[in-house]
């Protein structure tokens, strides 16, 4: 019970902090002081107090899009275990539901973008759906590896698999899918080298350009949702790059929280030392992620 309460609280409260950590890391690399860690919270709270402006072109899809996306991702977040603790909800086959809830959020984000009739937002949603066609099979190959390692079809035991039965035989596949999943995470949460959350040139963006017309509280929901997505995917990745545990519960919670923050630092470092790829090269990056995960699977079953 306590575990579930902590899970839900962390899921609801922690995500914006990750954005703060990424920005702080980037500031440190750039030799700046940077915004405070809690800046994303202030931004979201401020947006919630602003008025909303709607385009005359839009319909209910535009208004409901960010909300469906948020709810779908929060439910997906309930299916992923945090650290050594079981997820609040887990059952056989929940990995499919997890992947398809991401699909539901993508459907509504991209449809809401098209609802404005702006060619910029059309461009963004076209890129989003295109890149998903390669990141999702990569995710499934990684799932196949985890299914094989853990002998289970539910996310909670699957993600605990590498820690429970760590052996030399699974080391190589786990490393390969860790690389693949890291790229998938960067792509899905729209970070460099796939997308640049800081640029304001519409032609070069994916996620930011899809939400150009959202404003006020709805835009606050979108910013928050982006952070939730990053948080959930970091949680998934953490199981694979840190497959170990402590005996005490409090130590496990601490290592989980610091682990997620560490992933954010890692993203900050990647963003500081890399440039964004050209849009036409992004599919190749994602295909290489797919190949990493596929080779991981082949190594495991050989």
């Amino acid at each position: 019970m306590v575990t579930n309460v902590i899970h839900v609280l962390l899921l609801l409260l922690m995500p914006p902090l990750l954005l703060g950590i990424i920005n702080k890391t980037k500031a440190w690399f750039g030799g700046r002081v940077g915004a405070p860690f809690l800046q994303p919270y202030y931004d979201i709270l401020k947006l919630l107090r602003k008025g909303m402006v709607f385009s005359t072109t839009t319909t209910w899809i535009f208004r409901i899009g960010p909300i469906v996306t948020l709810v779908a991702l929060l439910i997906a977040g309930l299916l992923v275990p945090m650290g050594r603790f079981d997820a609040p909800v887990y059952f056989t086959g929940d990995l499919i539901l997890f992947a398809y809830l991401f699909g539901l959020s993508r459907f509504f984000t991209t449809a809401a973008a098209l609802d404005t009739g702006s060619s910029f937002e059309g461009m963004g949603s076209a890129r989003e759906v295109t890149f998903a066609c390669f990141s999702e099979p990569a995710l499934f190959f990684a799932f196949l590896v985890l299914v094989k390692i853990s002998g289970s079809l539910s996310l909670t035991p699957m993600l605990h698999g590498p820690a429970n039965g760590f052996s030399v035989a699974i080391a190589a596949p786990v490393v390969l899918i860790a690389i693949g999943l890291f790229v998938v995470m960067l792509a899905e949460s729209c970070r460099i080298p796939v997308d640049d959350p800081n640029t304001h040139l519409e032609l070069t963006m994916i996620h930011e350009v899809m939400v150009l017309d959202h404003s006020g509280p709805l835009f606050g929901v979108i910013s928050y949702t982006a952070a939730v997505k990053l948080f959930v995917l970091s949680t998934v990745l953490l199981h694979i790059i840190m497959p170990f545990e402590f005996l005490q519960d409090w130590a496990n919670w601490l290592i989980y929280i610091f682990g997620v923050m560490g992933v954010s630092v890692l993203i900050g470092i990647v963003e500081s030392i890399m440039a964004r790829l050209q849009m036409r090269h992004v599919p190749y990056l994602l295909i290489s992620a797919l190949l990493f995960c596929a080779f991981g699977f082949i190594l495991l079953i050989r």
Binding site: T92, G93, I96, T110, D115, V129, S152
Partner: protein, 656 residues
């Protein structure tokens, strides 16, 4: 037994439903009312029969002799064809109501009666196909079905495109039927009878030959790649409710055929399942890639049918692998997933075709690049279209997700328990499904966005009107059934379980479904999803902050026009380029020359690779060289008699 009699009565009524209208004048609407009344009555009668059969869960068979030298009249209902019968009676019921408004006799005096006649005949003969227990009866019903579909799809035969699509369909369906003739003759050789009764043993060679003939013969009807050549054209050019019936139900007759033939004999080889699975993967990925490249609303839907047939084949392939390996759980999840997807695809694809019909009715074009902003003019059509699109993308909480969940669960279980030859195929199927999912999202976001969202791109869009209740009610029923199956899937479990028991020849499925796919949980999750969304939406409604409206942000450009919106083809462009090794898009790119260049135009179309680059060239070459054989066709009777004489003499010499 009563259930079977009701179904036979329903078939008789559906088959004759269009005949009384022939007595009335072409302009009189009274005849159409009678046609629709008879189809509705027949379908409802059939549904009563199906309901009784589901409740009683007993097999009913009826046999009588007939005057033909071969076969006999033998029909029966079992748990395998029940699922198909549901679809066969639901879609014509709604389709005929829809046609009252969509294809009103007073607006189409030249072909309304013909369409009503063949629509009913198509529905009735499809039901006869699935209940036939004798191969001769099956073939007769199959042929009438194929021809009725031809006549129903080509009612607008004054149009060249329609005639060409009709010809391609007619040739393709007859090549398929030819394979079926060969298959049933071989069946007769092996079993000594034309009856379709299960046999306990069959030699590996004969079984494999039967399977290959079934795969090709029924594959033409189901539209698996590369036998799909007739499908996009025929679906696009038929009236929308006929497209719905063809795509939602008639394609499934091919799937039914493969299911029935594999039920009748034991699975003798491992490769049956693997081949079907690989065929499914090819149809699935190539089908949806072609769908993304299309700009004709109905061609998009037609190619997406090929994709869904591919998904069904993946599931059926898994079930065949399970039969060979004796794994009840793979069979259950594979066959259950295939049957459920047959039902689900029938529902949401018919819904989308009805929607497409309503849109075409309103804006008089099928080109999605000329549509746009219809959401404001046709809000209900748009709502139902979005529900259909979410369902076809297999997103929770609609019905498409449930069937794909079954299939994924089966494939993942196979991967979990298997180390041998089956493993790579299961992994291929799972990853292919994972690729088809986001591609379907790309395809349907493109379609929904280009048609309903944004600003109007054409004058016709400004005058578009919501269709009347006659068209909206059938759509709402289909949308509602997609939602009900998606949220409360448990009620279908028994039907699927009985079908699995029959197909696999096992008396009891010892495993419980909910341990593989916890269907009761999906209802809870759907409820959480709905109520959370409702809660947040209400919060936003009550939000005190001011709301205002202006135009879309145009990046400071002073004079944006509606033509500058992202069109459907621009949306699909990046994926079309990435898949150009399958799609071979044809681009006509004029260069800009001179100081004052003239107006130029750019054209990019995705044609059907198989049809336009393989089939048509082969037929053209055949057309060029085969006229030499025409020498023999002299048009003189005595020459023909001479040929007969020569051949008889040759046969006598050969001593056959």
């Amino acid at each position: 037994m009563l259930s079977l009699k009701l179904v036979i009565g329903a078939i008789a009524i559906l088959c004759v439903s269009g005949f009384p209208a022939l007595l009335f004048s072409s302009k009189s609407q009274f005849g159409q009312y009678i046609t629709v009344f008879l189809s509705v009555a027949g379908s409802l009668l059939g549904l009563c029969g199906v309901g009784l059969a589901v409740k009683a869960n007993s097999l009913a068979v009826l046999q009588t002799k007939w005057a033909l030298p071969w076969g006999q009249f033998s029909v029966g209902i079992d748990s395998l064809n029940l699922v198909f019968l549901i679809l066969i009676f639901v879609i014509p019921l709604l389709g005929s109501i829809y046609s009252l408004e969509y294809w009103n006799q007073s607006k189409h005096p030249e072909n309304g009666k013909k369409l009503g006649l063949f629509f009913g005949l198509l529905a009735g003969t499809m039901a006869l196909v699935v209940i036939a227990k004798d191969s001769v009866l099956f073939l007769i019903a199959w042929e009438i079905m194929a021809l009725s579909a031809f006549f129903a799809a080509t009612v607008e035969d004054e149009n060249t495109n329609v005639r060409q699509a009709g010809w391609v369909y007619l040739i393709a369906t007859h090549i398929g039927t030819l394979c079926l003739f060969a298959m049933f003759v071989l069946w007769n050789q092996c079993t000594g009878s034309f009856e379709l009764d299960p046999v306990g043993k069959i030699s590996s060679k004969a079984g494999s030959a039967l399977f290959v003939l079934a795969l090709i013969g029924f594959g033409f009807k189901a539209g698996i790649m590369p036998l799909h050549v007739w499908l996009p054209g025929a679906h696009a050019n038929a009236p929308s409710h006929v497209s719905a019936l063809m795509s939602g139900v008639m394609l499934k007759m091919g799937i039914y055929g493969i299911m029935r033939m594999t039920f009748l004999m034991p699975v003798t080889n491992l490769w049956w399942g693997s081949v079907l699975l690989v065929v499914g993967v090819i149809s699935g990925i190539a089908g949806i890639a072609f769908a993304i490249g299309q700009n004709d609303i109905k061609r998009v839907l037609a190619y997406s049918s090929i994709e869904n047939i591919g998904i069904i084949c993946i599931a059926l392939g898994l079930a065949l692998l399970g039969r060979f390996q004796g794994r009840a759980d793979w069979i259950y999840l594979g066959l259950g997933g295939a049957l459920l997807h047959v039902l689900n695809h029938g529902l949401f694809k018919s819904l989308l075709f009805f929607n497409a019909g309503a849109v075409i009715h309103a804006v008089h074009t099928r080109d999605i690049n000329l549509m746009g902003g219809l959401a404001k003019k046709m809000p209900y059509t748009m709502l139902f279209f979005f529900l259909g699109a979410i369902a076809i993308c297999a997103l929770p909480p609609l019905n498409g997700f449930i069937s794909e969940w079954f299939i994924y669960a089966g494939l993942f279980r196979t991967i979990l328990n298997e180390t041998g030859q089956v493993l790579p195929f299961a992994a291929l199927g799972a990853v292919a499904l994972a690729m088809i999912g986001p591609m379907a999202i790309a395809c349907f976001v493109k379609l929904a966005g280009a048609v309903f969202l944004g600003n109007p791109r054409n004058d016709a869009d400004l005058h578009a009107k919501e269709p009347s209740h006659g068209m909206l009610i059938p759509m709402s029923i289909l949308a509602l059934s997609c939602l009900v199956i998606g949220v409360f899937p448990l009620f279908l479990v028994d039907v699927l379980k009985n079908a699995t028991k029959l197909w696999a020849g096992i008396s009891e499925v010892s495993i419980s479904v909910v341990s593989f796919v916890p269907l009761q949980l999906i209802s809870v999750i759907a409820a959480v999803l709905f109520f959370s969304i409702l809660l947040i939406v209400t919060l936003f409604r009550l939000w005190p902050e001011p709301k205002s409206t202006v135009g879309t942000w145009d990046c400071g450009y002073a004079n944006p026009s509606n033509k500058m919106q992202y069109t459907g083809s621009s949306f699909g462009d990046s994926l079309v380029k990435l898949f150009s090794f399958i799609l071979w898009p044809a681009n006509q790119k004029p260069g800009i020359t001179g100081v004052f260049p003239r107006k130029v135009s750019y054209k990019s179309i995705v044609t059907d690779t198989i049809l336009d680059r393989l089939v048509f060239p082969v037929f053209r070459v055949a057309g060029r060289y085969l006229p030499m054989v025409r020498f023999f066709q002299r048009g003189q009777t005595h020459a023909y008699v001479l040929y007969i004489l020569v051949i008889i003499i040759v046969l006598l010499i050969l001593g056959i």
